[in-house]
Amino acid sequence: MGSANSFPLAVVRRHRLLAAMEAAGIDEIVVYGNAWQGDYLRYVTDFGILEGHGIAVISADGATELFLDSATDAERAEAEAPGIMVRLAGDIARAVGARLDRVANHRLAAAPRRFLPAWLADAARSFTIADGTALLDRLLMHKLPAEIDAIRRAARLADDAYGEFIRAIAPGRRQYEIVADLEAYLRQRGCPDNFMIIGSGGRDVFGMTPPSERRIAAGDLVTTELTPAVEGYYVQICRTLVVGAATAAQAGAFAIYREALEAGITAVKPGATAADVAHAENDVFRKFGLGDYVTSKYTRVRGHGIGLFCDSKPHILEDVDTVLEPGMTLIVHPNTYHPEVGYLVLGDAVVVTDTGVEVLCTTPRELFEVPA
């Protein structure tokens, strides 16, 4: 067997999975995915599901069956994930159940178990499926060098895409027209997937959502998080711009977010916890009397893991004690509402290294301005 670098990423991941299964004494692992929570399934099959349910059953010898209830996705999986036995099943729970009936005396685990169809997890079945989510979570969080390489390439794309976002902003344009431009830009570059939300306005804006029909106006703060994917690996960048010249209040508020981001990134190092990073960000807001605005009333998380899902573990929150280790990839983003100017975002993707942190995005941490 050659070095890990000489094999396709999917094969290397498979070897890692099988080793983890063996160490945990698991004979078969059942892995669920849909277009919202597709990372576990992508890890084990290399298939990016878009429609319906997908459930893979992986045996200790590496044989993999992928059950899908979408006929269009089943056809796609056969072409996009060679080496996987694809089975189209209208009632996917019972189809997988029939497969597991044959190995009911084996040690079975599922990830993420809480997403399995209820029928399959029911105690009335002939088999019992333990929760194997933590096993997959470890593999998903601790990236291989080849995974980090894909994330680096996605980061370059994210930087370029933010440049395109700036060019797309103009007074009178509707939010969804801007997103249409961005998605087209990414498709033209061969990028099949992206997650993005957007906000525009002033103090009336408390967050970002999918695009609306709202038109960009002079004086707006325009926020976005762009999250393009390369080979299934997502990277996120968060930036804010102003339509016109930034006011003193907007510039002053933004400086706090920049300081918080820098504090958060500085806190990222092996041995630190997710909570340490969140504290570092939030302490900056507290210092400026903005402690209320780092609570769940105004912000969801202060960053999160990135990889095969755009919002993976660990969540950067003051009560998350996950220890950061080399090979983890995160976005640090102190995004929240500012009472004087509205919702502001600023965030960069990073990788935890042996000695500290490496920032993956190169877009300047500026409050950008576009002509009004």
Binding site: W36, A71, T72, G190
Partner: protein
């Protein structure tokens, strides 16, 4: 995750559309005191049909009671409440990270042994089902999928109008294909046009070289474009999903005979006698939670043909002179004695 336009139009979907659907549902509830409908971004159809709510992210549970306005229990944060209220018709939105626990608490709070029907109970995420049982130990939970699918099978006029709009968006997007363009330019042009026309979601798939492989895949990178290729666009518009497929021959070979054969075959639906003579075919439609489920097709082991008045999407691979032509379009299933018809 959704990133197209999500906006409610009270012209296309006036309140009375949702109210009428709810009344039909309540009338069909029989002995049930409450009905639960789960939604996430891959299973949004049941809840969006009743409320217009489309989760771009996360999950939610709609609680329909006999005597109270519907409640939506969402895992999305409170900050998103104004967006939900702007884009859907729900009387009350309750935010809770564990929607199963909060739903059970709300339903059992009125009466501990309430009879509760759950649409697609077997397919509910196990964690949600566990939470429902744990927080509502005395609730009488049963599957109510058949009740819902019977109501949902035939498209009402509002759904037909949205399907027609989605079909028009898809057709307009496919007109953007430049036969001599690069594969990246083609995918970008189709997706951009669909989003620019207001699509809520767009998936573009291609068979880049039909001489090598007739399967439609998502494009990553820049695979080589063959002499003949196919493009499929799947478009959602305000909860209604359609697919259209076109084949392009870069040498200009006429594909009209295949298009005529396709339309003739679709007109026979729900009888698949003609469609089944093609190299392959697939008919998809909405039954409950997933927008496009396989109803009939070459690979569908247990077909359930669409009812009269259903809106479906049809795809087929037709061989003309030994060369494949992939085609697809949404269609309306005719009533007894009427032909079915492709949406323009």
């Amino acid at each position: 995750m959704r990133r197209g336009l999500i906006a409610r139009s009270r012209v296309e979907l006036p309140d009375v559309v949702f109210d009428t659907r709810l009344e039909r549902l309540r009338a069909a509830m029989g002995e049930l005191d409450a009905l639960l409908l789960y939604t996430n971004n891959t299973r949004p159809a049941a809840v969006s049909w009743l409320t217009g709510f489309i989760p771009y992210w996360s999950e939610a549970m709609l609680v329909v009671s006999r005597d109270r306005p519907p409640l939506l229990v969402v895992a999305l944060t409170l900050r998103v409440k104004p967006w939900i209220e702007r884009t859907s018709r729900v009387a009350e939105v309750i935010h809770a990270p564990r929607v199963g626990i909060e739903t059970a608490r709300l339903v059992s709070g009125r009466r501990a042994d309430t009879a509760v029907g759950v649409v697609d109970f077997d397919g509910l995420p196990a964690g949600i089902a566990d939470d429902l049982r744990a927080a509502g130990a005395r609730l009488s939970l049963s599957d109510a999928t058949d009740l819902f699918t019977t109501l949902r099978a035939r498209a009402d006029p509002a759904e037909l109008m949205l399907t027609a709009r989605a079909s028009s968006i898809a057709a307009g997007a496919l007109l953007r294909i430049e036969a001599r363009g690069s594969i990246g330019e083609i995918v970008a042009a189709v997706e951009k046009e669909a989003r620019r026309r207001g699509a809520e979601e767009v998936y573009v798939a291609m068979a880049p070289d039909l001489a090598r492989d007739r399967r439609l895949v998502r494009i990553e990178g820049a695979p080589r474009l063959g002499r003949r290729f196919s493009v499929r666009v799947s478009v959602a518009y305000k909860g209604s999903w359609v697919r259209r497929v076109v084949t392009v021959d870069r040498d200009g070979a006429a594909l009209d005979p295949a298009e005529v054969a396709f339309a003739e075959a679709v007109a026979q639906l729900p009888n698949d006698r003609v469609l089944s003579q093609f190299a392959s075919f697939l008919v998809e439609g909405c039954c409950a939670a997933q927008p496009l489920e396989a109803l009939m097709g070459t690979r569908v082991a247990a077909p359930h043909p669409p009812v009269a008045g259903a809106a479906v999407s049809v795809q087929a691979c037709i061989e003309v002179d030994g060369q494949p032509v992939l085609l697809g379009a949404p269609a309306l299933i005719g009533s007894s004695g009427e032909a079915s018809s492709v949406f323009p």
